[in-house]
Amino acid sequence: MEPRPKLLSLLTGLSVLLFLATLAVVFLYAPLEARMNYVQKVFYIHISTAWVGMLGFLAAAAAGVAFLATKNLKWDIVEVAAVEISLVFFFIAIVTGSIWAKPSWGTWWTWDARLTTAAILEMIYLAYLLLRQGIEDPERRARFGAVYTLIGGLSVPVTFLSIRLWQTIHPAIIGTASAQAQGGFAMAPTMLQTMFFALFTFSVIFVTLLWHRVRLGRLAEKVEQRKLQEFK
């Protein structure tokens, strides 16, 4: 097994430290929100995980285009890595969002444009993983995966637009009025600082996880090749 790169180990350690620091900042430094108290703390995690989900989504689409252009299988590994990370982090964002929505909107879920788009994005990525599962040939799997991320990547903004259009035409939907006030609270400067710190931390975590996952993908590929050589 090839040794883990020094920089990666460093990044991993840094991610852990930054995450602990973020928790400390969120709970000790950021002020308690007047109306929502401790529930508001989930907001920092929510924003950051949604941000990582978006990063992964964009990275996957870019890797898909890069694969179709170059036919280099390394882009396929990046694509899967980004999709998997995005899937997990979007899921965390949806769950934390629900925790936030219950006290502030009075419901776990509304069919708001962002919420619905996030849910559909999850569906697209689950479909993506199912598609890959059904194809053995790695080259074809990569091609189809790239095409599907491309189509998914294009349809998600259109979906967002269409759902927003739906909301503006039918404003009589539960929670829309309060959903307009989605900030829900005036951001104190320390809250803003905390948010940006959390965003930074999660960006680092994203890069670390992506690197780990890409490395894992490459190692898995090597194992496959070894196996093929054994049986020849």
Partner: protein
């Protein structure tokens, strides 16, 4: 460019292979014709889609209360869910028959642009979907005593079906090459087709409730935009689907 040369077409040396003008359009039409002729003889696909669509309508009758007062609001949803479900049947079948006996390989060997194959298959699927809609609409109108024959609604069905088959034909081409095949297509297709279904349902509802045109126009624009974007994308990426 050769068209601009002063020499008449008859002066072409006979050794040159005949390259008919508009070769792309002719190839598309040839594939469309092939699919329609095969369907005329077997009547497998259309009958399955139709019976399925009628069954879905029947099931909706039991599943939700289609009370007369609510009909104009629920009908568009029922109609589009039915069309979408019947559509996946047709899309699956249209690609499966190509794959089963290696017909797709034969098609790919033809000296035409590969996107011509895509457009031919897509147009055939569009024709099937519109035929299903053409039978579904009068039956629905009859059963539920609501007039669905409005020019606006027909336009929405055309635009919605076009977007649906554009993405659907492409994804069916992928699904049919995977191990899970038929199971895979709806899972791949439905999450990316949400804008089409949403816009089509809203626009149909607008026409059925005689809403002012300004309220329907954004949905029509959305449908047209989706159709244009995804026709272009499918045109560009179809090569990657059939490449071996």
């Amino acid at each position: 460019m050769t068209r601009n040369r002063p020499s008449p077409p008859a002066a072409r040396p006979p050794s040159l292979p005949p390259r008919p003008r508009g070769g792309f359009g002719r190839a598309v039409l040839a594939i469309l014709w092939k699919d329609l002729a095969a369907e005329m003889r077997s009547r497998e696909l259309l009958s399955a889609m139709l019976v399925f669509a009628l069954l879905v309508i029947l099931i909706f009758n039991f599943a939700i209360e289609l009370a007369p007062a609510l009909r104009s609001t629920i009908t568009p949803g029922v109609l589009w869910v039915t069309l979408a479900f019947a559509g996946t049947l047709g899309l699956n079948r249209s690609m499966a028959v190509e794959k089963d006996r290696g017909c797709l390989d034969g098609l790919l060997l033809a000296p035409v642009d590969r996107s011509a194959i895509f457009f031919g298959k897509m147009l055939a699927n569009l024709v099937f979907m519109l035929l299903v809609a053409a039978i579904l609409l009068p039956v629905y109108s009859l059963l539920y005593n609501i007039n669905l024959f409005r020019p606006g609604l027909l336009l929405v069905i055309l635009l919605g079906s076009l977007g649906y088959v554009a993405v659907g034909t492409l994804l069916a081409g992928m699904a049919v090459q995977a191990r899970t095949r038929e199971v895979l297509l709806p899972i791949l297709l439905f999450p990316v087709i949400v804008p089409v279904l949403l816009a089509a349902v809203r626009a149909s509802g607008g026409f059925l409730q005689s809403a002012p045109f300004e309220q329907i126009l954004p949905w029509l624009n959305l449908l047209i935009g989706y159709d244009v974007i995804f026709l272009a994308v499918a045109y560009m990426v179809f090569d990657f689907i059939v490449e071996e």
